[in-house]
Each structure stands twice: as structure tokens, then as C-alpha cells.
Symmetry: C3
């Protein structure tokens, strides 16, 4: 269902709602297109006119300066007109429904909605209702999906490892609440990574996670053995105060990535993190800033991936 909604009759990307359900060829086409934009962002004049005269609405029902900024930059480098809407502070408080809000913006001749919402599925609801020439990008919906983050993770892995077909990837930490983990697992599976592992305390691993085709580990040392790629997840501060974890210090002891634990992975392993990092909670600064870390390149590739997705769907 998601697949049908995301692709047009020619199999081209029309909305980006979830990596789940996207065919392998579409994922690869996004990564290839992103590669062409990495060059653009390194030029003196970092602009291409692909979205000139298009109106991009950043609809953030949950605040996220960081993610909103990456989409804003990507859209501006494509020469779009960008309108930032922090919706918590406006119509929603006036009791207007999500569908009415979007119908109104659509009537202003929108072309592209970038949407973050606390409710899983909200971007799907919108995609069902927009006009044929309008497009929706999910910038994070509840615990469900964060597909551009998943895509930039895939891009980063391919950049450093070239192939997925022989990789062991570990995703470590609060997998239960992570839309980043969910999106990445679907992407890795689709692109043929033979072994994907999730590592974390029992309280932070989803029950039945193995049904997604991953192996789960409670012991981080065991789980890291032989890994090519280690993806550390952010531990939300509300988790640290909650019932699921004894303390941040305890978490770091068992699941924080230290140089000593990292040494159990393959010598050329890369370390990733979606940011913002909690140094000393999920990752040690010596690792975050060390030679295995590709955390900042992830950010750079994230702009290119968002430019790729925006330009592809605008042309569909």
C-alpha cells in the first residue's frame, strides 16, 4: 500500500513516506542521484535551478531545528521558495484539523510538503489527500519512519563500503523508540545486507524484532564482533529519567561505544550516529571524534540525499 502511494504509474518516486515498500531500484536511483548533488554542494555557487518557482512548505508539527534546517538548505540550493511553518504555535491551537491545514496550504499552490508529525502515519494521510501535482516527504512521523535519515545512512554506508552484499551492520541502543532504526533496517534488507544486528537492553529492543530479519543481542561486546558498520542511536533524555533504564551511567557502561568495545568490530569498521550525540551516554568522545567516525560526513550526505529526493519527486 505504501509502495503504491509512493510511486507513480511509471514506478517513479512521487512521495517519500517510508523506506519500507520502496523497490531496490528506486533506492539505488535515489543514492545515485544524491551522488550527483554531493558535487553541487562543494561548488562555489551551490545552487541549481531545478526547483525554481516551486513552493516548498516545511510543516513541522514537532520542533526540530536540525532536520528542518537540512531540508531548508536542500530546497534553497535547488532554488525553491521555502516557507517554514511551525504549526504547534498556530492553526492547530485554533482547533483546525491537519487535513484543513494542508488543504489551505495546497490552495496557496504548494508543490512540496516536508512534514514532521508526532503521530505515526500522518504523512500517509496527507499523501492520500493531496492533488496530483503535489508531493509529500516524511521528515519523521512518531516512532514509525524517518526515511531521509535512513537514506542518508544507506548513502554513507555505500560511500565507505561500496557494496552491501557482504556487510555486517549493528544498530545499537534504543531501537524500540527509533524511527531511524526502523527505516534503516528496511533499507539494508532491501539492498541485500546479509546480516543486520540490533543491540540493546531488553527493555529497548522491540519484541519480535527478529521478524524484520535482524539478529538481536543483549551483550554489546558479542554483537559488535566482526561488524563493518556500527550505527549508534540517540538515547532520548526522557528515556534516561524513565522506567526503562536504571541510569545514563549504567547505559554507557553496557551500551556506550568506547574505543575498547569498538576494537571488537572489524578494523575498518565505520561508526555512525544520526545526531545530536549525547557524548558519554551512547558514545565516547574518543570514538565520536576518532578515525572510524563518519558522523559529520553523514550530515553532508544528508543534504545531497534530500536534494535528490526533492528533485526526483518534483519531476515525477
Amino acid at each position: 500500500m505504501a509502495s503504491n502511494l509512493q510511486l507513480n504509474a511509471n514506478g517513479e518516486l512521487r512521495h517519500l513516506l517510508s523506506i519500507e515498500g520502496l523497490p531496490r531500484e528506486v533506492l539505488l536511483r535515489i543514492l545515485d542521484t544524491a551522488a550527483s548533488f554531493v558535487g553541487v554542494t562543494e561548488r562555489e555557487v551551490k545552487k541549481v535551478p531545478l526547483l525554481r518557482g516551486k513552493s516548498v512548505f516545511n510543516l513541522f508539527f514537532e520542533p526540530s531545528t536540525r532536520t528542518r534546517t537540512t531540508f531548508e538548505i536542500a530546497a534553497k540550493r535547488l532554488s525553491a521558495d521555502v516557507i517554514n511553518l511551525n504549526i504547534a504555535a498556530s492553526s492547530q491551537t485554533k482547533g483546525e484539523s491537519l487535513l484543513d491545514t494542508v488543504a489551505n496550504l495546497s490552495a496557496m499552490q504548494a508543490d512540496l510538503f516536508v512534514m514532521r508529525h508526532a503521530s505515526s502515519g500522518a504523512p500517509f494521510l496527507i499523501a492520500h489527500h493531496v492533488k496530483p501535482h503535489e508531493h509529500v516527504i516524511n521528515a519523521g512521523d512518531g516512532r514509525h519512519a524517518h526515511p531521509t535519515q535512513g537514506l542518508l545512512d544507506l548513502y554513507t554506508i555505500r560511500h565507505y563500503k561500496k557494496e552491501f552484499s557482504n556487510l555486517t551492520v549493528a544498530i545499537v541502543g534504543d531501537v524500540l523508540h527509533s524511527r531511524v532504526a526502523r527505516s534503516l533496517i528496511h533499507g539494508l534488507t532491501t539492498l541485500g545486507a546479509p546480516e543486520v544486528r540490533v543491540i540493546g537492553p531488553r527493555t529497548l529492543l522491540p519484541t519480535g524484532v527478529e521478524s524484520l530479519g535482524v539478529r538481536s543481542f543483549l551483550d554489546m561486546r558479542e554483537g559488535l564482533k566482526g561488524c563493518d558498520v556500527i550505527v549508534m542511536l540517540r538515547l532520548q533524555s526522557e528515556r534516561m529519567r524513565g522506567a526503562l533504564l536504571p541510569s545514563a551511567q549504567e547505559f554507557f557502561k553496557h551500551y556506550g561505544l568506547t574505543p575498547e568495545k569498538l576494537a571488537l568490530a572489524r578494523p575498518d569498521a565505520i561508526v555512525m550516529h544520526p545526531g545530536p550525540m549525547n557524548r558519554g551516554v551512547e558514545i565516547d568522545s574518543n570514538v565520536a571524534d576518532g578515525p572510524h567516525s563518519v558522523i559529520l560526513p553523514q550530515v553532508t550526505f544528508g543534504i545531497a540525499v534530500r536534494m535528490a529526493v526533492m528533485s526526483m519527486i518534483a519531476e515525477s
Copy 2:
């Protein structure tokens, strides 16, 4: 007085402060200019260079994401540089006066101020003080006026009904507190609509409203008979909790537009609403989303009307 301030020596629009006092020809020129911009907003590249290099300041002393967004889009489609200023959060709290704030922005070489303010008359005060090449658009001042909303209402009516000379128009709900109603009544009168009605409970109709040339009705069924155009007003939620109304449910029973009440109007009647709607309070969803509703086209025309006003005053 407003008329003199709004027009230059050649009778061209210099500021837009209020529909009251604008001559018929000026209103028609705005509507005709807006018609030419409706086409622009439907193009692939929705930009024209009419305001290139001009600085448009959105000065919102009252928050309104929706209205601010329409002006921001209109200005960007005219290629202006747009600066959004949410003034509540800044200089005003530092004790700077309205005139000092505007004098400062003017010294930054502003071209156009779009201003919303809780005090009736604030945009007039500014228009009296700006430099000859600077322009002011009133985006809503207190209970006084909201001229671009009135103009987009007039545009919508003309679009669907072609002529004003044979129309019966009903404005329904909280007329007392509505700057939208006030602006529209002046516009309809000026353009020659022969019958304008206001419908609402006695507590929400201004005393002496008949002096504006309208007929007032307490009974909605009676007031809707034979109407060509029905303009539903938004009921502010603070009103629902106040002393002027028993309850939202009671209001809906008497003054909510239902299919059954709508059937009393002419068969080709159109239904308008400035938004955001309170479904189930002033309007039933079957009407809001039904075949008589032109509520979303109002939004689309609103962008074109604002582009028209901005480009006309910038050339004056």
C-alpha cells in the same frame, strides 16, 4: 481621510489600509490585476520579477501564521526579499515604541510593510510617518479592517457571479467583532451589490449596523432566503466561553450553516468562509466540503490578490 492617505496624486494605490474610502475604479483595478496573477500561480515556475530587490517586512504584532504565510508567498512569487518579524517577542518587550520600530526598519531601506496589529488604526499611524517611497499594507488591525481579506472575498464573488449589480449577499455570525465583515460590507457597497444582509444573534450584531447600508436578521432561515452568496464568519473560541453566547452547540443550532438551511438560499448560491473553520460550530462539514463551497478557491485567489496589491503599490 483614509482615501487621501491610500492614493497618490494620480489616484493610484499607495497604501492599502482599508477598503472604506477606496473608489470603485481602484477596487476594480485591483481585481483585474489579481486576475492576471491567478495565471502566474498556476505556472510551473510561479515567479515574476516585479519586486526583485525590494525588501518586504512582515510585521506581525499579533501572531497569524496563516495570513503571514499568504503574504510571504505572494511576496516571494514577486521575487521580493521577505523579512518576517514577530514583534511581540522582540523590540516591543524592550520598550521600544511602534514608531521607533518602524523608523528603524525604514532606515534599513524597507520598501513595503505588511502589518498586523491588535490596535485599530496602527497601520494608518505608520502610513502617516513613512517615507514617500515606502508602502504599508494592513493585514488586519484590531476590529477595524482586513482589506486584503475583503478584496479576496470580492474577487471570489465576482469570479463566480460575474456581476455585483444583482446580488444578495448574507454575512453570518459574529459580525460585531469581525474586521472581515466590515471590510467586505464596504467593498460590496462600493461595487454596487444591491442587498447586503448581516445575520446573527443580537449580541453579535453591531448596534446601528444598518447605517452601513445593510439589513440585519436575527433569524438565519429568514435571512438566507434568496441569497446568492453566503459568507460565514469565524466564531473566535474566546467568544464561545464568554457572556455573549450560551454555548457553541446553541450557536450551531441557530446560526450554523447546515445543508437544510443552505437549501433556503438560491440553488446556485456560493458559500464562503475566511478560515480557519470551526466545523460543527459555524458550519457543517457537509456544507464546508460540499458543492456550494468556494472556501479553498478563496485561499487561492487570496495569493493573487495580495500579489496584485503589492505590485500595484510598488509601482505607484
Copy 3:
């Protein structure tokens, strides 16, 4: 040290962190470049393509709509893409460090950071860490420096007085807490103003201020005698409620600039203020709006000075 960090190997401006340590020739080059931009801001199309495709990040860790707006306008008139980040509301609350925040934005391919921060020295810290092609402009750090304000003050003085070599300049009010005063004193000294005075109550003059090469006066009447330039400082409202001053009324009586006190200066003296003014506290409205006041021209020159600094460092 600041000097080395601010200039590249060819002695060109690379970052603007503080007027302190900038050589006379660099200051003069900035003022001369600004003069060329004053013309641009008076044109019909107030845009030049010097920063086209460059990404300017306005990083305001302290809110300041006014200063942020001047940088936003300056950058847009240079055709840059501008991203406004109000950091208090975002990553900082997620516990991310300043260096991580900037490293992330840098990974998005930033070109120029405009930064305001409550901690003195924060922009220096950033300038030490950015990549070779990235630039930092200090838009105010703690009590330390506000170099673009100092530069626009210097520009204004030179505009009206032509030469610095024969000037007596008085800086009046809360010198102790003023980064504006500090930046201006360094600039005036470097450009050869023979007499710089600070005037204020003992509690608001820094101890040992004479070591900066200025004369201090507790009696405003005495200090104003023979002055060519009077720079009034803003009295922060928190000061008025504090232990350092008896009351705003008392302050105005002794240190408020009235027509009567102004008459003690030279007949062609100019009066400046960084804004926003507290009328009736540090300055009388008759002076603020009178013929000696150049307060609004300061704002206009401030845009040109910021365009000059941005374009110079982008080319370095």
C-alpha cells in the same frame, strides 16, 4: 592573537571577531568598502550577486530581532541563502555542545556564521575550529565585543566628521556592561581620535578604563564640553532595577542627554545611539529626534557595513 585569527596570510579579513587587534588599514578598507554599498541600498533593485550560492547561518544563541534582521537583510542583498537559527529553542536544549552544533552546520556546507552568544569569546572558539573556507562574524558576545556595531559607529563618525585626527568623542552611560563601548573605543584609538571620553556614574564605569586610553568623567556637563561626537549607550532595563543605580529618573537627571546638556558640546556635535532607545532614560526625545541626531543614519550605514564585512571575508 585575535589579530592573527582575524586576518589571513595576505592580511585580508578572514573573520570579524573584534575591532581590537585589527590594523588601521583593515578598518579603513572596511569603511571604504561600506561606502560603495551605501549606493546599492539606495537603488531600485538593491541586490548584488557577490554571495550568490553562499549559505549564511544566523546563529543567535541570544535573541535579538533587530541585529539578526540587519544581518539577514545584508546577506539577502548580497544574494546569499540565509538560514536563521534560534538556538536557545533547539539543539542546546537537547544538550548538544556549541562545537557539535557548529560542526554539524559546517557539514551542511556553510560559508559564513553570524553568531551572537551570551558568553564572551564564543565566536573566537568557533573561529578556531572552522574549516579554511568558512568565516565567522561576531554579532555580539557577552560583554566583550560587538564589532559590526563599532564599525558602523566609526562609519557614521567619518561620514559626518571626515577625519578622526581632531575629534573629541564622548561615550555616555553604562560603559561597564557595554560591548558597544568597548568595540568603539578600540576603533577610535586605532583610527587616531585624539580624545575619547567615557561619562557615567562610578558604578557603571569599568575600573581602570583609563588604561584603554580614555578619560573618564563622573560629571556629564564637564565631560560634554567641546565634544564633536556624543555616543549615548542603552541602559538595560535590568540595570534600572538593580543595585547599581538608584532609579531611571535619577539616571536621566544626571546622565540623560537633554537639549540643555547637549548645548555644552560643540555646536556641530552629532548624537549617536546604538538603539533601541529608552526615551526619557538615557536620551530626551527632543534630542533623539532633533537636528544633531544621526541615530537613523547609523542604522542605514549598519546595513552597508555588514554587506562590506560579509563580502570582504567571503573573498578572502
